[in-house]
Symmetry: C2
Subunit: 155 residues, 2 copies
């Protein structure tokens, strides 16, 4: 088991390898594990060992995050899979369909907002009673306290 240690496809990965191959930090990996998004067993020396499937799992997490799904919801979705298994291509189709609806919602809300703004550039009003921009009844307004999802947006 020493000489034949497969360079290309090790069966189990250390936390550092997962981090490098997923492009995220070691602390983030440990954080995900603490949150129950991924799981590992331990090596003889008490080090984390991950199955190769963790790479797919982390990928799914990252994609969902880009969509704007909070980690807790991602965990819930993953947990809802049969036997808590690592998603197969099939599962991924279901998950992605579900999250795509979320994404569509977000895009829709932002698009409506853009349209409102386009209409409002002409009027420049923000008038109390006239301006639809002012009236957040359009929905969207925050879900409770705490930070809203902030994308890499700067100005």
């Amino acid at each position: 088991m020493d000489k034949i240690e497969p360079v290309q496809f090790p069966q189990e990965l250390s936390v550092g390898e997962v981090a490098r191959r997923c492009g995220i930090s070691v602390s983030a990996i440990r954080f995900y594990e603490a949150k129950g998004l991924i799981a590992s067993w331990r090596s003889h020396g008490n080090q984390r060992r991950y199955p190769r499937e963790v790479l797919r799992r982390v990928s799914i997490v990252k994609v969902a995050q880009r969509i704007g799904i909070p980690l807790a919801s991602i965990k819930a979705a993953l947990d809802a899979l049969p036997k808590g298994r690592t998603p197969t291509a099939q599962d991924w189709r279901k998950l992605s369909a579900r999250w795509q609806a979320d994404l569509d919602g977000r895009i829709g809300r932002l698009t409506r907002l853009r349209d409102l703004m386009t209409g409002c550039i002409g009027c420049g009003c923000l008038s109390m009673k006239d301006c639809p921009l002012r009236n957040p009844c359009d929905e969207l307004s925050g879900r409770g306290p705490g930070p809203q999802l902030i994308e890499p947006g700067r100005a």
Copy 2:
């Protein structure tokens, strides 16, 4: 509760009035003031008094927030106005045009993501080397411990 307001248009507003009329909490108003987004003077009894223009200003803040602009950037944009004045309709046109670009960018990113997902539902892959979803290079995420080149095999 139905205290008879001094005529229709009080020239100055208390913090509670601003909160009620903007549909946000008193603590949020104070928070915005602490952050320098709005300003007030004090009444004889040390209570905050706001000019009527604060309503427009808060509206602008809320719209910008819906777009996804962080408060610090909103403050910067407002501060950049001549004399730090409360935005006129003219100013608002400029601000909104600027923020609309942000909004467009955000919508564009999400839309690209959606398209990628649509393509990926068919493939169900998330495959290491094939899947564009996995490679966040699409996004301008060069920040932090960003994504690194993923190579199958030894890196």
